[in-house]
Symmetry: C2
């Protein structure tokens, strides 16, 4: 829309940028926030409707212009390679490789540069996915425990990094010197779906749940059902049931000019519901460091 | 760019909208001006670099949403059908037909719903085109001449529309009752090229000449030559040589933040040179009706 960009999300952690969906204009929205496309190491696609992927050729060329030569991992439902090949008719030559991972299971888990990623199927007419991103955080290194075991300082670091070490004929394990895993961070992203128990399960305990809210108007509940979308209230019920800390609504119908008028009712279901908007960003700090 | 759309042009005449090029965000730029995509009957492409066609899938879907069922003619250099098919991987089903006309000659002329269109090759590395659009205007119907010939009123209209008529065993021709062709309108569009005599010839006498001006900085003349683009001054020389009424510069390099500072020097070459900008529009009236 003239004054609203299409729905997408970018996560930035530890030098690795992760993009979910890339509709027409996503590269513009990204630049407005002041972010570069250079460090996008991974792109996740929920599905291949044009509003979620039409900006890909331009984004790929923008990344090429930024001088990137490292490969990019693309993840999405089956058909990903075919769709990307089609769109690349106008971006045939890129200075970096694209690696594909096509999803087909009900749920798939994988790790990528510090992100633990869960792809979960959502409920629309075809096989589409939502994504949970988790940053797990190890426990603290217990200096006293390491000393008590008599371990020399040079063996502390491999144990901290999760490796077993041998010393004086004995094997030592990380669990002997590491405290319990500390609370990490979790963000869940879900769009173009009816509400499902699977989404609630995937979103459980998220620090942020980004969820489609196609309609704010309560009378559009039937329309939402028919079109396989959700209302603000349905999203709020899922946020409450999943026990998330905060929810951002997004992917609004163009027919809804201003979602604010519905937020009172939405917050009576889930108080920490907020409207998404272009360029909305949030910096998360590990709870213990706050 | 965050605050500048990609280069494209739309002409609207007699209910028929004509679009030249469609980069990412062109549909947004068009909506900002308040125009609908519904009446785009013909699309002309200069070439298939992403910044000139990446917005096509979204535009096609927007047109579909507008309820159009009439066919659309697409015109462009060889490869058009292959490129459009690739991009349509995300817009496979449309309620209207697309008709293709692929160009290969040095110059091709055709008419479409009142537009006389000339496609002319420009000078880049591969076969690309610029376009001249002309609206020809017939002479006035000479009522006295028709009366003098003794023609009944019901035969006037077919003669006005260019048909021969038979009356009392004799054939009458439009030239017998029509005055000389009156001055029409001409707009020429040219981008991504070095200056050429062919462009000057095609643009001759245009009411408006829209021409790329990649660089305003005089010291970038060598760079323009190397990259097969033009400077503001080279465009101005062509505008002067072609005897156009007005020139709009467009397709600026992202490295040039403000072209205004060069316009004094440019206007010393061609006084009616102006910078293009997002949403710039101009309404032309047939000279005789002004």
């Amino acid at each position: 829309m003239p004054r609203r960009h299409l729905t997408s999300m970018m996560a930035r952690y530890n030098g690795c940028d992760l993009l979910i969906d890339c509709g027409e204009g996503t590269q513009i929205a990204m630049k407005k926030v002041g972010w570069s496309s250079h460090s996008i190491d991974i792109m996740l696609f929920t599905h291949y409707h044009a509003d979620h992927i039409s900006g890909l050729p331009g984004m790929l060329l923008d990344i090429a212009n930024s001088g990137r030569t490292e490969p990019i991992l693309m993840v999405g439902p089956r058909g990903l390679q075919r769709v990307v090949s089609g769109l690349r008719v106008i971006a045939p030559e890129l200075p970096y490789e694209i690696v594909f991972r096509e999803l087909s299971e009900k749920q798939e888990n994988f790790t990528f540069k510090g992100y633990d990623i869960t792809a979960f199927r959502v409920n629309h007419n075809v096989i589409w996915y939502g994504y949970s991103l988790q940053i797990h955080r190890k426990g603290k290194f217990d200096v006293e425990a390491a000393k008590a075991l008599g371990l020399p300082v040079q063996l502390w670091n491999p144990l901290q990094k999760g490796a077993e070490v041998e010393f004086e004929g004995k094997t030592f394990y990380p669990r002997q010197v590491m405290g319990e895993e500390r609370k990490g961070l979790k963000v869940t992203y879900c769009t173009d779906s009816r509400p499902t128990a699977g989404i609630v399960e995937a979103a459980e305990g998220s620090d942020l749940f980004i969820c489609e809210g196609m309609y704010g108007e309560p009378e559009k509940a039937a329309k939402a059902k028919e079109n396989k979308h959700m209302t603000f209230y349905e999203a709020a019920v899922m946020a409450r049931d999943a026990g998330v800390s905060e929810m951002w609504l997004t992917h609004f119908s163009p027919s809804m000019p201003d979602g604010r008028r519905y937020m009172g009712d939405v917050r009576s279901v889930f108080p920490e519901a907020h409207l998404g908007k272009d360029g909305k960003t949030r910096t998360f700090v590990f709870p213990e460091d706050e």
